[in-house]
Symmetry: C2
Subunit: 176 residues, 2 copies
Amino acid sequence: MSTTAEYLKKLIRTVPDFPSPGILFRDITTLLKDADGLRKGVGVMLAPFAGADLDLIVGIESRGFILAAPMALQRGCGLVLIRKPGKLPAATVRQEYQLEYGSDAVEIHRDAISPGQRVLLVDDVLATGGTMAAAQQLVAGLGGQVEGISFLVELLALKGRQRLGSCRVESAIQYE
Amino acid sequence: MSTTAEYLKKLIRTVPDFPSPGILFRDITTLLKDADGLRKGVGVMLAPFAGADLDLIVGIESRGFILAAPMALQRGCGLVLIRKPGKLPAATVRQEYQLEYGSDAVEIHRDAISPGQRVLLVDDVLATGGTMAAAQQLVAGLGGQVEGISFLVELLALKGRQRLGSCRVESAIQYE
């Protein structure tokens, strides 16, 4: 990792046993409340895509919104939301995905993306990659072109990037 | 309203009968996906507080995050989250508040704000003001100083600002 990434990693707090016993939760709120951490985090997440033509930043509910929104502002892009079922008010498309036990789903407004628009997908943490794989399908289903995916944190042990195909996937900070 | 506010209002979509029959839902996703709308919305929400000394922007889950995060970036402030119960991983303080039927609650991390820090509270819509009044109490309970509250949309008929005391309350766009 770069020195900026090392700096950012020190701002992340690890909370044991959240949301359930045995899980080490990487808490980004301690980074966000630091003005310099927020600014540098946004910068590092955008940097790999500095040369990409982007129309929209798409954030995943709800911590993804927190990073996608300032990234959209900084890049001069629009912001699109992918949300849990029932949260978006107008006509939506839904994508289900498998969890270890059971399934979950995400939704996007049908008119959120026009065919051919170039999209950067954003979330806070890459874990198993299930939600982001569903998000890729939603964007593709609307005719959007996924130029890349940017995470603040990647949990390498869970090998989530294997579920994201040949798409360019970047993360600012990694944990084994 | 200013011409910028009129411009922004045209970007908001009204969805009837969401989330329940008889409700006219003001959908800001059509504003957010417009790069110019996002930039101008953030600018209008910050403008009344241009002269205020601010340390932190505090956003309310979850649409408040979407506006608070780019506002924090633009102002060079840190970002703090007020969330629904059970979402924040470390030690929290909780504030309950009354709904028309029943009650709800919001939480903040105990260490999110240091005594004396100057805070701007942010949410997307001012309706009855119940959630924001609870947010004010959380910030005050940690010793933070609320310099003001900024909403993108205010629903005037619900008179929410009456619940927010003598605090400076600003909204970019109003509906009767």
